[in-house]
Each structure stands twice: as structure tokens, then as C-alpha cells.
């Protein structure tokens, strides 16, 4: 293979700078002294069929360009050929052609052409090297094609970037959910372990008592059998009587009543654990596509249950006003997430002993309103405008992702609703969520 050929036949790769190099047409230029007639003959040359103009070059530098159009204009005039034919081409040429360096970036070239261009397009542009010496011409059409190619590439890039952004957004939502769930875990573990503790103990106690009771019954039965039987009482009877004496106080009526109470407690405890697990299930359901009919009051109560350990810990009282609500079409797990976010924020805002949170629901005009109000430290006016911004947080580093409200905002908007906030520092904060009864219909 001829090395000269291989090095020259280098196709511009995607990484190569997009300049005018590939567009270069190595057209032979025209000497300034060439006559108009001779230039006209050049245009008739089949090799130059695709060219709009030819460059006029003097001592290697472009001094003008002559277009086919200009020649036609002149030759169409009566006696035009005769009048101009023998004159040098400099008489007709455009002394200010569009000259571009080979290394000009494609975008810049396109812009330069756009500013220069006149209708109809009559000229090609002239290409020079870094020293300003003529190297060839370029077709405007080729530039257009090249730019279009670039746009197509960019379009593809944009699509890919958008897809990546969408997937990382989903990840963010998910990780925010996990983060807020993680915060709940501490309290939830405690909430579950507490009933688990007495449930297990009560069952063990009951089993022990049943064992004792069985023994007592057996001993008592043995004594009765001996009394009603035909044979003489045997030595075992003493042992039996001693057993009865020992077991009676352990298995008396009072003990049985206590055990019944303990079993009631046990059932209650098991119920509590069941509740907590079902609340967790509601929260963790990914439910991306399912729009369901849900009772917002139930969702609010469920969210309150999940945060109840936090409420107890900080001695925050809750005022719950539940209006009559129609069922709304929504993604319940997402609404749950919004509620948990608002409640969590409300609780954290309270830094005094008399914490109070008001949660009110109300139906109005085909919409459902949810109000979460706290008497915590409030939000400063300058922060208020930004609290729905992603990553905006007033908490110290390490606490909170700053995504909670941003995601809540997005969820509410996707449901076709809106979320508003009002706050007074030192007094408290109020969030209002409005959700339509009819769902949006599209995937959240």
C-alpha cells in the first residue's frame, strides 16, 4: 500500500475538530489578468459544473471571486459579451469575497456565511490556509450538510443525556425514600420490638402455666381415682398430695385471670405489629404505574402511625381534623411519601416542649386539601422561595438530603395538584397540598 495514500485518506473521526478541511475543493484559481471571455469558458468546463464561483488569486492571495451569476447578468445584457469580453476579470469580480481559513470551526463558518449571504446564493466561499494563501473553495451547500450532520449527532447526545438524567432522577427519588425510611427505622424497630417483647414473654408464661395446670390436673385426678378406686392407696398418694399443695397456689384463680389479661395484651401486641408491618408495606410499594383510588384520610392516618414514635419522643401533640373526602385517583405510595416528608419536617422544626401539629383534610370543588401546620421555628422569608429547590436545606451537613420537599413538590405536580407554603419564623409553618379527585391519567 502506498503510504502517501494511507496517510491522506484519513476520514475525519468524531474526535477530530469539525472545521472546513473536509469541505475543501481544490479548485484552480483564476489569474486577475484573465479575460472575462476566458473565465466564461472555464465555467463551461464540465469539471466546474458544480461551482457557483471561481476565486481570483494574485500571488497566492485571493483578491476576489467571480460568480457564474455575474457573468450571466453581463452576457444577458444587449452587447454584454462584446462590451466586457476582452476586459480583465478584475472589472467584474466581487472584490470582497467571503474568505475563510481552513481551520475555522464549522459553527463559526456557518455563522459567517449566514451573515454574508444574499439571496439568491451566488458565490462559494474561498478557503485559505493559516498564512492567508489560497488553498481552494468550499460549497455553501456542503457547509449546510455538515452542520446538519452535527445537529443530528447533538440530537442523539441530548437524547442520551436526557435518558441518563431521567434514570438518575428516579434513583434520587428512590434514595430519598430510603433515606427517609432509614430515619424511621430506628423508631420502627423499637415500636416492633416492644410488643414483641411482651408477646413472647406472655406466651412463654402461658405455656409454663399450662404445663403446671396439666400436672395439677393429673395429680388431682390420681387422687380422685385412688379415693374412688377399689384398691388400697399406695405410696404415690403422698407424692401426689405434695404436688397438689405445691401447684395449687401457682395455678389458682387469680393466676388464671392474670394469664387471661396477658393473653389479651398478647393479641393487642400482635395487632400492633401487624399494623406497623402493613404501614411499612404501603410505604415501600414502588407503585410507579398504578393509579388507584385511595382515601386520603387513611393515608394521613397511616403516615401519622409511622411517625408516632417521633411524636411521642418529642411530646408533640397532634390535632387531627378529618373532613369527609371522596376517594382520589393517585399513586398512594407517593402521596404517603409526601405526607411523611411534611410530617417529618414539621416534627423536626419543633424545638420546644409545647409542640403541636395540626393535620386537616377537606374536600373542595373536586379537589382534596391537606393542611399540615406546626408551631415550630418557621422558615425565614429569604429561604421560603427556595425550599422546593433540589438540594436546598437549612439542616447541618449530614442531616437530610435536601431533596424531600423537591420530590414532594414533583409528586404533587405530577398528580395535577399543587403545594404551597406559608411561614413565620418563631411562630410556625403551614403546608397546603391540593390534589385533584380525578387522576392525571398518565404515568407519574
Amino acid at each position: 500500500m502506498n503510504p502517501a495514500l494511507t496517510t491522506r485518506a484519513r476520514t475525519p473521526s468524531a474526535a477530530a475538530p469539525a472545521d472546513l478541511q473536509p469541505l475543501q475543493q481544490q479548485t484552480a484559481p483564476v489569474d486577475p489578468h484573465t479575460s472575462v471571455l476566458d473565465v466564461a469558458r472555464l465555467f463551461l468546463d464540465p469539471r466546474h459544473a458544480g461551482l457557483l464561483s471561481l476565486a481570483v488569486v494574485d500571488a497566492g492571495r485571493p483578491v476576489g471571486s467571480i460568480s457564474r451569476y455575474e457573468l450571466m447578468r453581463v452576457f444577458l445584457m444587449p452587447y454584454g459579451r462584446e462590451l466586457y469580453g476582452r476586459r480583465p476579470i478584475t472589472a467584474l469580480m466581487n472584490a470582497q469575497p467571503l474568505v475563510l481559513a481552513l481551520a475555522t470551526p464549522l459553527d463559526q463558518a456557518a455563522r459567517a456565511i449566514a451573515t454574508h449571504i444574499r439571496s439568491p446564493i451566488t458565490d462559494d466561499f474561498v478557503l485559505v490556509d493559516a498564512d492567508g494563501c489560497y488553498v481552494g473553495t468550499g460549497l455553501v451547500l456542503d457547509v449546510l450538510r455538515a452542520v446538519e450532520g452535527r445537529l443530528a449527532d447533538r440530537g442523539g447526545e441530548l437524547e442520551r443525556a436526557y435518558a441518563r438524567l431521567k434514570s438518575s432522577q428516579l434513583q434520587l427519588v428512590q434514595s430519598e425514600k430510603m433515606a427517609s425510611l432509614g430515619q424511621m427505622v430506628a423508631g420502627l424497630v423499637h415500636e416492633i420490638n416492644t410488643p414483641l417483647g411482651y408477646v413472647r414473654n406472655n406466651v412463654e408464661m402461658t405455656r409454663g402455666a399450662l404445663g403446671d395446670a396439666a400436672q395439677l390436673l393429673a395429680a388431682q385426678q390420681a387422687v380422685i381415682d385412688a379415693l374412688t378406686g377399689a384398691s388400697e392407696p399406695d405410696a404415690d398418694l403422698d407424692v401426689r398430695m405434695a404436688e397438689i399443695e405445691e401447684l395449687r397456689p401457682r395455678v389458682d384463680a387469680a393466676a388464671m385471670r392474670d394469664l387471661c389479661d396477658l393473653l389479651d395484651d398478647t393479641l393487642h401486641g400482635v395487632g400492633q405489629i401487624g399494623d406497623l408491618v402493613s404501614n411499612l408495606k404501603d410505604f415501600s410499594r414502588l407503585d410507579q404505574s398504578g393509579l388507584q383510588k385511595a382515601d386520603v384520610n387513611k393515608l394521613v392516618d397511616s403516615a401519622l402511625k409511622i411517625v408516632q414514635h417521633l411524636l411521642r419522643k418529642r411530646e408533640v401533640s397532634v390535632v387531627r381534623e378529618a373532613g369527609e373526602l371522596p376517594q382520589i385517583e393517585c399513586a398512594p405510595a407517593q402521596i404517603n411519601q409526601v405526607l411523611l416528608n411534611l410530617l417529618g419536617n414539621a416534627i423536626q422544626a419543633i424545638e420546644h416542649e409545647h409542640g403541636r401539629i395540626v393535620v386537616r383534610t377537606q374536600a373542595l370543588d373536586g379537589r382534596v386539601l391537606i393542611l399540615v401546620e406546626d408551631n415550630g421555628k418557621g422558615i425565614a422569608a429569604e429561604h421560603l422561595a427556595r425550599i422546593f429547590d433540589p438540594f436546598f436545606t437549612t439542616k447541618p451537613v449530614g442531616q437530610g438530603t435536601g431533596m424531600g420537599l423537591a420530590i414532594s413538590h414533583q409528586i404533587v405536580e405530577q398528580h395535577g395538584g399543587m403545594i404551597r407554603v406559608a411561614s413565620k419564623p418563631g411562630i410556625g409553618t403551614r403546608f397546603l397540598v391540593v390534589l385533584p379527585v380525578e387522576g392525571r391519567g398518565k404515568r407519574p
Binding site: T194, G197, N201
Partner: protein, 312 residues
Amino acid sequence: MTDALPSVLFVDDEERVLRSLRMLFRGRCEILATTSGREAIDWVRQRRIHVVVSDQRMPGVTGVEVLRAVAEHSPATMRVLLTGYADMDAVAASVNEGEIYRFVEKPWNGPYLLDVVAQAARVATRDFAAAQARATAAASVEPASVIAARVVVLDDGGAIAALVRELLPAAVHVDHARTLEEALSVLAEHDVATVVAQLSSAHGDVAEALKRLKHLRPATLAIVISPLRDSRLVIGLINEGQIFRFLLQPPVRELLRRGLVAALERHAELRANAGLQHRYGVEAPRGESPGVPGRLLQVWRRIREAAVARIG
């Protein structure tokens, strides 16, 4: 005097837990129960209570706060934390401020809890009896015995050893051991008041050694400094090693200083009154660690030989 049943006070904000515990302990002790931490503290002030078993997460006064108050008002009362969730801060506070005897997790194991409380009750009974006798003796410890004390710092780096030296009076002898072997040698040769151990791994030899230290040297108190926020690790060190203090790395200077001073004073008390050492009874170590027992066994042997040599 008849052997009265020991009194045990249960504190938990959930009534059902208290009912369940009443049933479990029926007949074994005098049972007191309340859902209020404040009430619990009042009772401890008003009458003799041998063991306090408290939950941690309660509204109002937390379990650690209750136990800290108990430690202050009635040091002879044994303290147990019984809780559904072990978060790091509560665990550290329970050992540092509450100086608890055992940390029991919910759901509890019935026989285990009975055993823990029974042991604690025995210790407390002895202590209340001894306290009456001690009431006449000098209340404070002789300064001389504190100053002449010896502290070993197990720290492969050196920063903690330097800090300990800085915080203690010059008369206290501070040994810097870079390896477990070095530390154990010092422990074998001398009466060490306090071991300050830097713990970087939850599963290494150092953790195991700390757990077995109380068996070897019941009067030596351990202060553990670690970057690990591992509540399980600390619970193990409390229950199996009865460590004296746990500080997160880097340690707050004032906390470390107070811990060191308290440890030195406690050691002097224990030396003066050997009977007190049973307060730090530990559980049999769980889990096997092939590396350490051999080494500790050697140390133990040397201590025994030295003791025998002194007697004989």
C-alpha cells in the same frame, strides 16, 4: 434479720411490658413498676431498691437519664437497660453516665433476664450491707493511692498515649503499649489501675482481650476509645467486659480527663475494698477466639506464679 426478697424496679412507658414483667418475676422479688421515669427516680431516692430495669425510649425522661440519676443517688443500686432499639448514643451514654451492669435487648429471653436480675440483686444486697459498715470509714480515697497509680495505653499510633499523659498528673505512671502483647506484659507485671485501649476493629484480638480482662484483673478499669459506631460491639463490651467508659474517636478532652480521674478513683476504692469488685461481674465470653486465650492464659499463669511466689 429475715432474708427479705430484693426489690426490683421496672420502668417502661408501655403498660403491657410492665404487666408481662410482673408475671415473669412473680414470687422472686418485690416488684415495683412505673411508666414514669420521674416517678422512678423519686422512688429510688425514697427507699432502698436493689435493681432498676429501665427501657430507653420513653417520652419525658429517657432510660439513660433515669439510670444516671440512680447512679448518682443510690450507687449501690444495680442498673440494667432493657430496650427495643440500641442506638449508638444511648449505648455509649448508658455505660458512660449510667455505668450500667447489663444491656438487654427486647425481645428479651425470659430465663436470661431472670438470671441477670438475680445476679444483680445478689450484688446489690451485699453492697447495701457493706455500705452500712463503710459509712463509718473514711469517705474519700487517699490521694496517695491515686497518684501512685499506673495507666497502660494501648495505642499503635501514639496520639492517644500523648493525650493521656497530658491529661494526667505527672506522678501517674503512663505506659504506652503499641501492641496487645506489650500491654499484656505490663498487666502481668504490675497492678494497673486503668487500661486505655484504642479499638479499631470490632473483631480483632483487642476486643476479645477487653472482654476477658475483667476475669484476670477485676480491679482494672477499661476505657475504650474507638471510631467505630457499632452499638453491637459496645453492648458486647458492656455485658462481657464491663468496660468503664466508651468514647468515640477523636475523644473530647474533658470527657477523657473525667473518665481517667473517675477510673483512678474507682480503682483505688476497689483496691481498698476487694468486696466491691463483684459489682463488675461479667458474663462468660461468647464466641471463640483462637488467638487470644493462649496469650491471656500465659499472662494469667504469670500472675498466678507471681502471687504464689509472694505468698510462698
